[in-house]
Symmetry: C2
DNA sequence: ACTTGGCACTCGATATCGATGAGTGCCAGC
DNA sequence: GCTGGCACTCATCGATATCGAGTGCCAAGT
């Protein structure tokens, strides 16, 4: 009974603080939520919660604020993911439906997420390593220049310009194109990279340099894992986080401009199909210690291609945010699967 | 003589205010710059400048701040574009050299500009309408699905997925590919769009639907002007604009997230090859009335393909910013020309 | 064993007040 | 037309006082 009420109190504190952005005291707590007890009782519980590290007071005589640990408990045990309203679902669908190519899908997803959660949205491009080769194309740009284009099953197009040094006859180009496609089409990107090794022996010596140049470019395209590009949007919402937002937005903006940080933000989580919530200091990066990240993988048929998520102040509406992120991930996964 | 000195005073005020971010008074002015006159004299000039609307005082009994009109005069007549140091030139070169594809070039340019000017950088993708068709490629994704790929002379790749409804034999695909390339390669994008009209008659009736589907997709790619995408970076610098930055960053961030606003920001200037400076209220968009935009077109051989620029507080270092923007535009133009 | 009302206490937030001083406008003299 | 002098304005800053939300603790009640 006691333990139960303490958890109720914690939940109430989190909810109140999230909605008011102000430290919450015992009196206002009993007023707003109908716990059937007096402020004094609440105070006792609060003191206990503070001892256990779930809440803290900014100043000696102020209300309580949830700590990271408090939010963690709230997310893990005191709340459930809030399903979206049908209006929101419709919005997602209509927002995402008109998308043409992959770039467009990602761009729309970012804006959608940002709008829905009113926070900063981050979307990772579908990973190349999970996708397969759809087509390889060689186009001569000038006498000594080739464009190598790789088209993947997720609709992504990678391109590289190659300096051949010598002139490349069209016949060689056609031959090479045919062989490359025969060798790689349908294979997973990493596998395709491996198969390339079988190729060069079929050509004469003076073709070698050209061929190997093309190969290395293609290889680059195939293995370029760091091309795991990430798109971000909704930074305007950062300002909304409050004028009271700790230490201003500068470090946050700075961190968000680092691709690497963004990628790590989305996390190398164990199971990408389950919602991941990183709260405050759980984000390794300093400067993001007052923010939380809600992320989840998206993709086809249980196979997660990439991740997406949002970043906001630790004092965010977790149930709502989690609901939005999960819903968007599902829709996008479906769409990417179709394309 | 008198007029000359008044202009000197205005220049001094702008320079001081830009470097200190504080209203500048008559006394400190004479100290810092060696005008050979007394503070009282300066005060007279200042009063005159204020009457004419070039400067203003935030409060009675405070120093003067340049108005938009003052900055305008400063930019037009009192300053000259500051050439970069050789160190900076080297930085530009090394920063831009490793670029692989067009995306990469644009991304690097944005970061370079942001870093160099310590402001928000905006770069427009090279316009498609000015470029020409390098190659058209058709790739079958599945039995009833085609990918139409357009490669332009600026290295840009446009892609569209087409539902054909019926199965498309490889022979038709090859034929169509050959004809499309013969018809369009080398032509400017708008011209190429026109020429497409000549094509369909060469095919049989039951091929019509497929062909016309492909054509309309290609046509879309060719004319899609709104694909004038814009990339932005360096938003972290917004925070640097000061805690004193008027009305916080919110409206600015919001404006910057609108593609349309960004595009208008770069401006439909008369002659894109000349540096354009928009100061404060000259930017139509409200919310950007305390910011200035320095932009210029870039491209090959005097032909401007797109624009780039930076956005900062009206109290920016105009000569330096203009120098950086111009220098970067030149280098990028050269690189895009090569690619 | 909890809960509750009461009460003294803390301390951030807010308001008031005066001193300070940078900066101004104006004027009379050079 | 420049300059020094002078009275005046007003934002800034620090000190002081007040206010009140919120706390911790205790003794009494159930």
């Amino acid at each position: 009974m006691l333990e139960d009420r303490k958890l109720d109190v914690l939940r109430a504190i989190v909810e109140d603080y999230v909605s008011t952005h102000e430290p919450v005291g015992s009196k206002t707590l009993v007023e707003r939520h109908n716990l059937g007890v007096s402020p004094a009782t609440i105070r006792n519980d609060m003191a206990a919660l503070e001892d256990e590290g779930y809440i803290a007071q900014p100043h000696t005589s102020a209300g309580r604020i949830p700590t990271d640990k408090g939010y963690r408990l709230f997310v893990d045990r005191l709340s459930s993911v809030k399903p979206l309203t049908t209006a929101e679902r419709r919005a997602i669908q209509s927002f995402l439906d008109g998308a043409m190519d992959l770039d467009d899908i990602v761009a729309r997803t970012v804006r959608l997420l940002a709008q829905l959660t009113r926070q900063v949205a981050v979307v990772q491009y579908p990973s190349l390593s999970r996708s397969s080769v759809r087509h390889v194309e060689l186009v001569s740009l000038s006498t000594t220049r080739l464009l190598v284009v790789l088209i993947t099953s997720t609709g992504r197009v990678e391109q590289r310009v190659v300096e051949t040094g010598t002139e490349v006859p069209d016949t060689l180009l056609a031959e090479l194109r045919a062989q490359l496609n025969a060798l790689t089409v349908g294979a997973r990107l990493p596998d395709a990279a491996g198969r390339l090794a079988e190729l060069p022996i079929h050509f004469t010596d003076d073709q070698r340099s050209t061929v190997s140049a093309v190969l290395s470019a293609l290889l680059e395209s195939l293995v370029e894992e760091h091309q795991d590009r990430v798109v971000m949007g909704g930074t305007a919402n950062l300002a909304r986080f409050g004028p009271d937002f700790p230490l201003s937005i500068h470090p946050v903006l700075e961190a968000l401009e680092e691709q690497m940080v963004l990628l790590r933000l989305l996390g190398e989580a164990s199971d990408p199909s389950v919602l991941q919530v990183k709260i405050g200091h759980e984000n390794s990066h300093e400067g993001l210690t007052t923010t939380s990240v809600v992320s989840v993988g998206y993709g086809t048929e249980g196979e997660s291609l990439a991740k997406l998520g949002v970043l906001g102040p630790t004092r965010m509406d977790y149930p709502g945010t989690m609901g939005a992120v999960r819903a968007v991930a599902r829709y996008v996964g479906k769409i990417v699967g179709e394309a």
